[in-house]
Symmetry: C2
Subunit: 277 residues, 2 copies
């Protein structure tokens, strides 16, 4: 069983188009404190959400290949656009467990809704894929799903306008239809959106349950690791680097953003040439 | 002289991180109607303006290599971020004439200002490079240059909020310091900005001269082609494709945007794999 022991101690690979996936990494740090993480943010090619499924798939496959060079025992696709467009391709390429952010979020929303009217806000790529709607209806045939692409939320978050009248105004426009229809549950279908959760919550109204897939994704990862006997049994000792961060560009900027999201201070992020993978 | 004749008939290569450079291509079409154009928009990796100089340089070199496979006789770097960060590297790599958008814009501003207070608005990468300020001061030592990065303008333009209270509000914030200082000339240092020229003009005030480097860039290209004897002497005949468009992703979306900017209707844009160059 030495081999299984060695596997258990390997890190989890987590990736996103940029910094948004740190909200998922943060949740994994909280829920699975014994696990090491290798995070990759594709900051040279960010954002993914307004690009084509083919390009998002190509980029995601390169990243999965890179993460495997880091000996990860599982991969978390902490990016809704990549989860929506590239999951099938990744599952073909890779023989370690893969967790996406779409299915856990959809499952939570199905459990939470009382009037069967579920809203989804996400990038154009995620909404265009129709995946949330498809997955929810497969599991809850009575559900009505209302999807809305919110392409300006990512740049507004990245520019730091987390509490700002402009973000309020844009949120009012994006959410108007969802309010009219009377949804009672709203999936935050992009990993940037939890950062402006309070703005979204204020505008959509306090009766609407906001679903942040990050928590359910971490729990899904936990279940999967347990099922496969891959959980790390104890916290790595001193001297072991718990969390490692890689980006494809601008490590300094990433570090600054990461330190505003994570309680854990990032010492450094390393730049790699992702299109070589 | 058969060789020179063949050279004259070659197309001009024009590139940008995405669609913004079409405002420059449009000006070349107007000022040099005999010239064929091969346009490349790096829509898979757009935007450049918030990325590092190293990454922008790497991407620009790949594009210059691609354009040379299309037998272009000159290259127009129709992207301020690439002009600011990658020009030296491109001039090393390439032995055909290169025209950037920074120097022509700076030159025009120097000619236009009366109070020697010049404003520059551009992406974070362009402002961070300090190139406008450096170039203006080298040529007009009395000039005071005020630079302001406006990172939200590109997503606002790409989302079509060309005339919108939100764009007004963001413009008011970005331009406030420049108004306070009393600039009389403002360089639109990003090829997306001419699209919201009327918003910028309304907010900065009608006494401020707006400089759109696209026109001066086209004129600079014209001068350079004349000097090298590379001008096309007559309009290519029927059956010759005057303008060809290549992108790295999402040709449909590009085409739609292009058709809203160019009077000439784009028939098609072809997707190529830019990281192979």
């Amino acid at each position: 069983m030495i081999e299984q022991e060695e596997l258990r101690n390997r890190p989890i690979g987590v990736f996103d188009s940029g910094v948004g996936g740190l909200t998922v990494a943060r949740e994994i740090m909280r829920q699975l404190p014994n696990e090491r993480i290798v995070y990759f943010g594709d900051t040279a090619r960010v954002p993914y959400g307004n690009k084509s499924p083919e390009t998002i798939t190509k980029f995601s496959r390169q990243i999965a290949r890179f993460l495997q060079t880091q000996d990860v025992k599982a991969i978390v696709v902490a990016c809704n656009s990549a989860s929506a467009c590239a999951l099938d391709a990744l599952e073909e390429d890779v023989d370690i467990p893969i967790v996406d952010v779409v299915r856990p979020g959809a499952k939570t929303a199905i459990g939470a809704t009382k009037n069967d009217k579920i809203g989804v806000i996400a990038t154009a790529a995620t909404i265009g894929s129709g995946i949330y709607s498809r997955y929810i209806k497969e599991n809850d045939s009575d559900a009505m799903v209302l999807s809305k692409a919110c392409p300006l939320f990512v740049p507004l978050v990245e520019e730091g306008l987390w509490e700002d009248p402009v973000t309020d105004e844009i949120a009012r426009r994006y959410l108007a239809e969802l309010i009219d229809v009377g949804i009672d549950t709203l999936i935050l279908g992009c990993t940037h959106y939890p950062i402006i959760r309070s703005t979204i919550g204020r505008i959509i109204g306090e009766d609407v349950t906001l679903v942040n897939p990050a928590y359910e994704t971490a729990m899904e990862l936990k279940r999967l690791l347990q099922e496969k006997g891959l959980e790390s049994e104890h916290r790595p000792g001193l001297g072991t680097e718990l969390y490692r961060f890689f980006v494809s560009d601008a490590a300094d900027k990433f570090q600054k953003f990461a330190n505003s999201i994570l309680t854990y201070g990032i010492l450094s992020a390393k730049v790699i040439n992702i299109d070589e993978y």
